[in-house]
């Protein structure tokens, strides 16, 4: 069994100075492509990139900065759901809800944001990168020819959010039938099961046997 390698002693755990150094290094290499960046000590690095520099930044991250591991790609719809938590009584008129788009960490100017997570397989530190998707075009550049694994993730994001990826080889649906209409993970796509019948979980908080019913300690 001589050819079988075994790992040595555990590597030391990642400290915050490491994350800050990496964030500075990435910001320096990407230049003005980084709109905003944020480091949470002991947690993660977030960055928002310019839409037109999305693909070129990925190439830099992979080729020069050592982020060789592609973790996932997905999108967030920042519009608060007009259906709330699906607990409305279907017989009553729908209540008014605040539907102003409010972005998350590192800000954002559009309703949809694509985010990707890349990790360096040697430093074991990851970075979450966000990019605004223009509201009118709903298209950003595909990164599937930078990270081959992004191919399926972009297909999934395309059918679930209706975001197009320019340069993707094949944006067929993965999960939904070909003639499916709508994009299920958009917030304004109703969850029909909740529309036709009230959610029984509304009466979820039952008193525990022997416990005090209304205490909120």
């Amino acid at each position: 069994m001589s050819q079988l390698s075994q790992a040595e002693a555990p590597t030391p755990t990642v400290s915050d100075t490491l994350r800050e150094t990496i964030a500075t290094e990435v910001c320096g290499a990407l230049g003005d492509a980084v709109v905003e960046s944020m480091v949470k000590p002991g947690d993660d690095i977030w960055m928002r990139l310019r839409t037109d520099a999305w693909r070129s930044s990925m190439i830099t991250l992979r080729e020069s900065l050592g982020f060789d591991y592609f973790c996932f790609l997905s999108a967030i719809d920042w519009l608060p759901s007009p259906f709330g938590r699906g607990e409305d009584d279907p017989t009553e008129p729908a209540p008014e809800r605040d539907t102003t788009v409010r972005p998350g960490y590192c800000g954002g100017a559009t309703r949809m944001q694509v985010f990707v997570r890349l990790v360096s397989s040697t430093k074991h530190v990851g970075v979450t990168l966000k990019v605004d998707v223009p509201d009118d075009a709903m298209t950003i550049d595909s990164i599937s020819n930078v990270y081959a694994g992004a191919n399926w993730h972009e297909r999934e994001t395309h059918e679930m959010f209706g975001i197009s990826f320019a340069g993707h080889p094949d944006l067929r649906n993965m999960y939904l039938p070909t003639d499916f209409e709508g994009h299920p993970l958009r917030k304004d796509f109703p969850l029909l099961a909740r529309m036709v019948k009230p959610w029984p979980g509304i009466v979820d908080v039952e008193p525990m046997p022997g416990g005090d019913a209304g205490d909120e300690s």
Partner: protein, 398 residues
């Protein structure tokens, strides 16, 4: 009828000439038949090798695959959408069913992400029991893989051993959590309950049994000549491809990448309190993937043994409000699950339920390499390569 350029023509009579033409025609027809045209082979969605409903469309040239594409979505349940209308404690019921063979391990990263956003930390005893149950679900999950491996190559015996011995582990999980397959035991701030009496002794016995199960599988399968010739050098995934596609877990370590999230990232769980090894293999073929998983199962039994000896005393639940509202923020937590890296990107808006949850499941990435790795392999190897990549359908489709 005249055959102008045939040198034999002059010497042959009509009868011979006709038989010559017939033989030439037959040869020509045979050549046309042997000249392989493309053929499309459809495997699944109902096929024993797919552990569920995965369909693989393979275009063949003779015995070789020219192009292959898995077709998912037969089991898509839309969990990412459903989490948006659930409260945080209710989400664990859904995510239990993503990788149904290692259910407890699915709950842990989500609960850790919620705890991170709330700034709550579970008491040490809860973290240790979490780690033990996490490793038990790894043993239950991967032991089934080790048994199933033989079936894909025509060896039926190991699967009976696997089902027999996995039951001991499931019994342990059931006696601690109340659920055999879907424990739903993890809570924000700790665990639902403490361990039952006598559980520690029983677990130690079972861990001994599982180690001898690993030995049995090793001697039954891994030294077998047929097994070796069916897996060695088959389905090789180089390091660079594995990283690009985001392969994780044993699939990544079998390609020579020394990376285990249990060891290489800060985690409140108790892995750092045990002494164990991370196994890697330089080959990247089907054999390497199976071998790494076998070693990991054995290593997991050792982790459980060591942690059982040192469980700290104390409560298993931190103080959390009865109605849990998670403060605004975003958090990403991933752990080294039986199938690979499983993570949740949780966005909260200070409500009782999450605003958005992105579920990063291991099998989705692990299976996205299939079109790459199946190109050029022979038809019987499709099955062994798929088996060695090891996926659970619920983990692909979510």
């Amino acid at each position: 009828m005249t055959i102008v350029n045939d040198p034999l023509n002059a010497k042959l009579g009509d009868r011979e000439r006709l038989s010559y033409i017939a033989s030439q025609a037959a040869d020509a027809r045979l050549n046309v038949e042997l000249e392989t045209e493309g053929m499309t082979l459809n495997i699944g969605p109902q096929h024993p090798a797919t552990h569920g409903t995965l369909r693989i469309i393979a275009r063949l040239d003779g015995e070789q695959v020219v192009w292959a594409e898995p077709s998912c979505g037969y089991m898509h349940r839309g969990y990412e959408k459903l989490t948006e209308v659930r409260t945080f404690p209710q989400v664990t019921t859904l995510i239990n069913r993503i990788d149904w063979l290692g259910s407890f391990a699915n709950e842990v990263p989500f609960i850790l992400a919620a705890e991170k956003l709330m700034g709550v930390e579970a008491p040490p005893r809860a973290q240790w029991i979490r780690t033990i149950l996490f490793e038990l679900s790894r043993i239950a999950n991967v032991s089934l893989f080790l048994g199933d491996l033989g079936v894909q190559m025509g060896a039926v015996t190991p699967v009976f051993f696997a089902f027999r011995d996995r039951e001991y582990v499931l019994d342990l999980i059931e006696s601690a959590t109340g659920g055999r397959f879907h424990p739903n035991f993890d809570r924000i701030g700790g665990l639902k309950d403490d361990l039952p009496a006598g559980w520690i002794q029983e677990t130690k016995q079972v861990m001994r049994k599982m180690r001898s199960f690993c030995d049995e599988i090793e001697s039954l399968l891994f030294g077998n000549e047929i097994f070796q010739s069916r897996t060695r050098g088959i389905g090789v995934i180089p390091r660079d491809i594995a990283l690009q596609y985001g392969l994780s877990g044993a699939n990544l370590r079998a390609s020579g990448v020394d990376w285990d999230l249990r060891r290489d990232q800060d985690s409140p769980l108790a892995w750092k309190n045990a002494d164990w090894k991370v196994f890697t293999h330089p080959d990247g073929d089907s054999f390497a993937r199976c071998w790494v998983r076998l070693q990991e199962t054995r290593e997991a039994t050792k982790i459980v043994d060591q942690l059982l000896d040192g469980i700290p005393s104390g409560p298993v639940m931190a103080k959390v409000p009865k109605i849990i509202k998670v403060p605004e923020g975003e958090a990403w937590v991933s752990t080294e699950n039986p199938l690979g890296e499983m993570g949740y990107y949780v966005v909260s808006r200070g409500d009782v339920g999450p605003f958005r949850v992105k579920i990063r499941s291991a099998s989705f990435n692990n299976i996205s390499v299939v079109p790459w790795v199946l190109r050029g392999v022979y038809v019987p190897d499709i099955i062994t390569i798929l088996a060695s990549l090891y996926f659970i359908l619920g983990d692909i489709d979510r």
